[in-house]
Symmetry: C2
Subunit: 342 residues, 2 copies
């Protein structure tokens, strides 16, 4: 290990260590063999982990180190949000090539820290090492469930299927970032909105906790791999089918603008594009109005009913405006053939 590298390392650890120092529930943060944490008495512990790899999950050409740091933690925060939990403690492992500067590594941790601060997460441990090829990041996030976590496996036939916010923004952002040359005819604010949705997603922590406390949500998952894939997971775990009306899927004007400029299809992005990190949930038809108006009041987020859960024998169907079943593609595809989440 060369001197500048060692100095870099020491300074990075100091930066991370300082950030963790006075967080609640942290008896020992960075600087020992393990972090020592004090879970709240009687609470359940939530744990999730995600590996992010350069040229699989992001490209350095359009994602800054700060974007990468932000998103690495955001995808895990979204998993905790999808159970109605409270994110608490993060462990961040980073491997990057020798050519990466101290400034770039600091910018990565600044991105992690910015997202962590917004969601009350303390970074309590990690690992750093050299990488012979490309950036590799792993984030593990621990959280707590105040009441029973909302699972994927507990939806009931007849339940409404609903989604927070809107879908397809992240896929539209990715398409713009990957487009070469950049398309004409996309307004600056539409471009800014969809690329931010892709690079700096905003996990629905407050919404997840509010929905959990409100009662009446029967199952929930975050839309990380795309509606088709994630609704598929929810149906599989609940042993049910589903019927979704494509016309009811909320899609923003910015996404329509980008689709028009690129000659692409918003429905493909809204059903097959991943990484929106919205919450997809089920509830009884009677509970929907109360949840939608309450969520809007409490958090400002829209909740849209897009279909209903069906018996397993009905399968999962996406219907067009005429009520005809339309084939819908798979979810988010990595740049290289990806394996799905375990």
């Amino acid at each position: 290990m060369s001197r500048p590298q060692a100095a870099t390392e020491r300074r990075l650890i100091e930066i991370i260590r300082r950030a963790a120092r006075r967080a609640p529930g942290v008896r020992v943060g960075i600087g020992d063999d393990c972090a020592v944490l004090e879970p709240a008495a009687g609470s359940l512990l939530l744990a999730t982990t995600d590996l992010l790899i350069e040229d699989v999950h992001f490209r350095r050409r359009w994602a800054t180190p700060t974007d990468i740091g932000w998103k690495s933690l955001a995808v895990n925060v979204s998993d905790i949000a999808a159970m109605g939990g409270r994110p608490r403690w993060g462990l961040i492992a980073l491997a990057c090539p020798e050519a990466v500067s101290l400034e770039e590594a600091e910018a990565f941790y600044a991105g992690v820290q910015a997202l962590a601060t917004e969601h009350d997460v303390a970074i309590v441990g990690g690992d750093t090492c050299g990488s012979p090829r490309g950036w590799v990041i792993n984030v593990t996030l621990l959280g707590e469930a105040v009441r029973a976590p909302i699972l994927r496996s507990t939806a009931r036939a007849g339940d409404v299927i609903a989604v927070t916010g809107s879908l397809g923004r992240s896929a539209a952002g990715l398409a713009l970032l990957e487009a070469n040359p950049a398309p004409a005819g996309v307004a600056g604010d539409a471009r800014a909105e969809v690329t931010a949705a892709h690079l700096r997603p905003r996990p629905r922590t407050r919404e997840g906790q509010w929905l959990s406390e409100a009662g009446g949500v029967t199952a929930m998952i975050d839309v990380s791999d795309g509606l088709a894939t994630d609704l598929g997971h929810l149906c599989e775990e609940s042993r049910l089918g589903a019927r979704v009306e494509l016309a009811r899927i909320p899609v923003d004007a910015s996404v329509r603008d980008v689709a028009r400029a690129l000659g692409r299809d918003t429905i493909h992005w809204a059903t097959g594009g991943g990484e929106d990190y919205e919450l997809l949930l089920t509830c009884s038809p009677e509970a929907f109005d109360r949840l939608a108006s309450g969520l809007a009041r409490a958090t400002g987020a829209r909740l849209t009913s897009i279909g209903e859960m069906m018996p397993a024998a009905d399968g999962i169907r996406y219907l067009d405006a005429c009520g005809e079943a339309v084939p819908v593609g798979p979810g988010f595809e990595h740049f290289v053939t990806g394996r799905a989440r375990a």
Copy 2:
């Protein structure tokens, strides 16, 4: 995602899921957004994470997928052992190139599971994805501290420095695995012993828990980066110096045999070589005999006194048989320039 890859994925998830199903304290294992865990009432939670990268931490030329799986979890179990804790729940992220077969991926998980079973760890979550270049593994392990965890920062001047087992075996094994051509004159059992020490290390879980319960250990760390580096961490965190007598460092006959055959120095391996995953601890001089004999009775492991903790002003010195200070090199070096642990 191609069909065979998807089938592979599904089968892998099923294998992992089955293993986790009936583990204690696991309310929800694999198959939801997060694992849902029930920590024992009143216990402290321990958390540690490690990233392992092909050609940084291991080479496919001499490490089988099962070796890689075993060791990935073992290094984290050792961190929990070093605090006297009980390892409980693991999250395993694996990225490997498309060319990796289902058999190789299964062999990896079999290695993880073999080590997990020995140490009562349940695999409760994970992530898998494609890797454009080489294998990447991240393991996060959660554990519980029955009583106060033993830290690095609480050694006292005058304490004995002691180590379990012996040092240098893993470095000797690595030297043999990397030697080309293989050296003549190493007996088969010596070769088997040191290569197993490198490829399938046996973390000191029982020893760590016994030492924690016995009382009297003032500080503890596992020897992952080499004695020189890890004693350096312990001294830094405790704001103390140390004096180590090289002649007292326990080195096995097998390590001497390999050193002779390769024309290398056992002391360099014992002080600078890493990955022995022995426990390095401090205790009062009065407590040492009780701990050493009790540990041997309870677990069969030897505890050897190798020096004493000194005031910070004395620095960290390694003394030869004549009492002269000898310069001692840094710890474990990765194949590419590595950053140290955060």
